[in-house]
């Protein structure tokens, strides 16, 4: 036991944070959501019925379920009746859609489908239904409700993401490790600078071990990323920029490795690899800034993909995501420290 207490405090922090990330990342449930809306064609002056498949819901236990059509301008149309088939499947019937919906374009009006009840709060499917204009004149006015009518419930849960579903948990295992990789690369630049100033071997060894761990993290990021991509975007490798950027970073640092192994004089090796490390990092930064201007990404923020934007990452996710980055960074530091100690011993 006394032996265990001898390791540095930040290693304990790494262990605890990692445990926290694993437990919280797996145990906190996903918010309820809608997977599929089976009928997406509605028309003014006609009644509308659809079946809805939901996820993570307990529809059988809720007794005040209502379905809503959510129109632009936050106008809501309430359903006439909702029949629950099982916990995750229901059928919603709407009255004849009346006047006042004012479908402007020929393509129709996109409306979201929302379900709410007092047990689970509300959840919706964005732009699920397309409302077309009436084929004949119809005079009954439509009754609209406001958003304040909707029941909400505060709960500790991750946001439900369409198509991603549970895989949004991968944020803590894939995105975080990528971030930790970049943090480690910055650290290795710091050590390289320290080496160039002080010419102490230990800094060079530290820089190279940190870089090695960053490469390991990069490989892990690529493998996990392609796994995730396969089951959300349908292919192991895509033309996505963040993926390709990681691949380029890996190429650069593998080249760094080759450079180190092809210089036999330790002094020259340390000098050259430190300079190359700094130079490569500068070029990587340039790459990170340049590429997003040139291509569209499957990743957050670009092109309306089913991934996260800053809007989608809510506080519950941040509560796990930021500790995850720190956890991976500290574990990487630990790995690098072991490696550099090993190198130092084998040098003597």
């Amino acid at each position: 036991m006394n032996q265990l207490l001898k390791i540095e405090w930040w290693k304990w922090m790494a262990i605890l944070l990692m445990l926290y990330v694993l437990v919280a990342g797996f145990l906190i449930p996903l918010k309820p959501g809608i997977i599929e809306v089976f009928n997406s064609d509605a028309r003014v002056a006609e009644p509308f019925t659809t079946e809805v498949r939901t996820y993570n819901t307990r529809l059988g236990q809720a007794d005040d379920i209502r379905a809503w059509l959510w129109l632009p301008g936050d106008r809501l149309i309430m359903s006439k009746s909702v029949s629950v088939i099982n916990d995750t499947y229901l059928k919603a019937e709407f009255d004849t859609l009346g006047n006042g919906i004012d479908v402007q374009s020929r393509n129709g009006l996109m409306a979201s489908l929302m379900i709410d009840n007092s047990l689970e709060g509300h959840y919706f499917f964005r732009n699920a239904i397309n409302i077309k204009s009436a084929e004949m004149a119809y005079m009954r006015p439509q009754v609209f409700y406001g958003l304040d009518e909707i029941k909400t419930r505060k709960q500790l849960a991750f946001p439900f993401q369409h198509i991603l579903y549970e895989t949004s948990r991968n944020t803590y295992f894939h995105v975080a490790i990528w971030m930790a990789m970049f943090a480690l690369l910055i650290l290795s630049c710091y050590y390289s600078i320290r080496y160039l100033i002080s010419k102490k071997f230990e800094f060079d060894i530290k820089a190279s071990s940190v870089t090695t761990v960053a490469i390991v993290f990069g490989i892990a990021g690529l493998l996990t990323g392609s796994m995730w991509a396969k089951y959300t975007w349908g292919a192991f490798w895509t033309n996505d920029i963040k993926l390709n950027m990681t691949a380029i970073a890996l190429l650069v640092y593998l080249a760094y490795w080759i450079l180190r192994s092809s210089v036999s004089d330790p002094d020259t090796r340390a000098r050259l690899s430190s300079v190359f490390n700094l130079f490569a990092f500068a070029m990587l930064m340039v790459l990170v800034m340049v590429i997003p201007r040139l291509t569209d990404s499957l990743h957050p923020g670009n092109g309306g993909n089913p991934a996260f934007s800053s809007y989608d990452m809510d506080n519950t996710m941040r509560m796990v995501f930021y500790p995850a980055i720190v956890a991976y960074f500290l574990i990487g530091l630990w790995m690098a420290q072991l490696r550099s100690r090993l190198e130092l011993i084998s040098r003597d």
Binding site: F26, T167, F173, V213, A220, T224, I331, M335, L338
Partner: protein, 70 residues
């Protein structure tokens, strides 16, 4: 020698897992909200970290042997 065996075993485990996933068509990774994809991601992560540890272990062993010889 023993560590080498573990190394090979882990890699085999990983690949057999990946292959069986292929054989089960899409369902294994897509059912219950794709939770198994998360599982696969975590497994890959652990495999990579463990391979790193094992490699370092091997190097340390070599060093110890070297020291004993002296």
């Amino acid at each position: 020698m023993k560590s080498n065996f573990i190394y090979v075993f882990l890699i085999a485990l990983f690949f057999s897992e990946a292959l069986s996933a292929q054989a089960l068509t899409d369902d294994f990774f897509r059912n219950t909200g794709k939770i198994n994809t998360v599982l696969a991601v975590v497994l890959i992560l652990f495999t990579v970290l463990i391979v790193f540890l094992i490699r370092m272990d091997l190097r340390l062993k070599k060093l110890e042997k070297h020291q004993k010889d002296e």
